[in-house]
């Protein structure tokens, strides 16, 4: 069942991202039609054990009763993650008072460099309501697997100057997962497409 959901999400993302890349001028229309990836009749309830910037334990039950926007990325990400977080910050502003019912979570896929303090400084750049979560390598991997996210350290490319020690990029899926107040994975939203459609998707998540 969970593999089915994951496959569905991955397939959706492949299609959506490929379409967005191929026809950037059609973004609003495309996104309005497919703001939420379809989920199966009985959605998965991803389980995770992570920590926030204060060191507090955060699990799938911590924010029960509110919707979660879950994104897997890393703070040293130069383009994709800031782009997604920029849109999330806009989404939160556009939600107005309804944002109180939403918990935006940024889960690092680079726990080696993303210390809790650094992660907090990073997400606050975008919106102080975004919560950065990290954990051990195993905990982060388990969380990503539960949502169907994937990542790995980017391999050096031929011809590219060697980066100094400690500097590397990550390859990763870039989806914002929508989790309902009961902890069920509803699907993914695309705030980069149509903001009204993304707003509607989040507001209808209950």
């Amino acid at each position: 069942m969970r593999r089915g959901v994951i496959l569905l999400i991955v397939l959706f993302d492949i299609g959506l991202v490929a379409a967005l890349v191929a026809w950037p001028h059609h973004r609003p229309l495309l996104a309005a039609q497919t703001a939420v990836a379809p989920a199966e009749a009985a959605p998965a309830t991803p389980r995770f054990t992570l920590h926030d910037s204060a060191g507090q334990l955060v699990t799938q039950d911590t924010y029960r009763g509110r919707c979660e926007l879950v994104y897997f990325g890393y703070s040293f990400c130069p383009d994709i993650c800031p782009t997604e977080l920029g849109y999330q910050a806009r989404l939160l502003k556009a939600l107005g008072a309804d944002a109180a019912q939403v918990v935006p979570l940024f889960i690092t896929i680079d726990p080696e460099r993303d210390t809790p303090a650094h992660l907090a400084a990073y997400v606050t750049l975008f919106d102080p309501r975004i919560i950065g979560l990290t954990g051990s390598a195993d905990e982060v991997h388990a969380a990503a697997t539960a949502f169907g996210a994937w990542y790995q350290r980017a391999a050096p490319e031929p011809g590219r100057p060697a980066l100094p020690p400690g500097q590397y990029l990550m390859d990763h899926t870039s989806s914002t997962y929508l989790v309902d107040p009961q902890g069920r994975l509803v699907g993914t939203i695309d705030p980069q497409g149509s903001m009204p459609a993304a707003l509607a998707a989040v507001r209808s998540c209950r």
């Binding site: 130069p78 383009d79 782009t83 750049l125 919106d127 994937w150 590219r160 899926t173």
Partner: protein, 170 residues
Amino acid sequence: MIPRMTPRECSCATILGALLALGLCLSPASGQDQGSAPAGTAVSAVVVARAWARATTSDALSGAIYCELRNPTAHDQALRTASAAVCDHCELHVHRIDAQGVMHMSQVDHLTIPAAGTLLLQPGAIHLMLLGLAHGLTQGQSVRVVLRFDDGTVTVVVPILAAGAMGPDG
């Protein structure tokens, strides 16, 4: 293959470019975007417009620059390299989606600006990446970048906008 420039080389090229820019005040586009070439090199016909960068944390090691590259000539032009004093080296990046839906940033050895056309560098797509930043990128400050095209170079002063900015207007 992009030759690696040491920070000192980056810095020298940029300072020369900056001095020339101040002296000549070349600005065919908007008065802010277009700079000039470092001493001894030609000024490219390519117009660099609406350039911007995002703020990062102070200890960030990398950042991205976006802009419009406008080619008014009747021939394709290629952006070959970029350099900036604020970083160890710059790379030209495009995003590639693999069969599993994973985003990979790939370095390319040039970017083509079509004849009488414009190439858009924007978030989540083509961008100029700064690697090995010394102090991150601070909102309100700017970055001086030298772009080398087939026909010459352009020095651009790039404003650093908010971390969550999505375009040159914020």
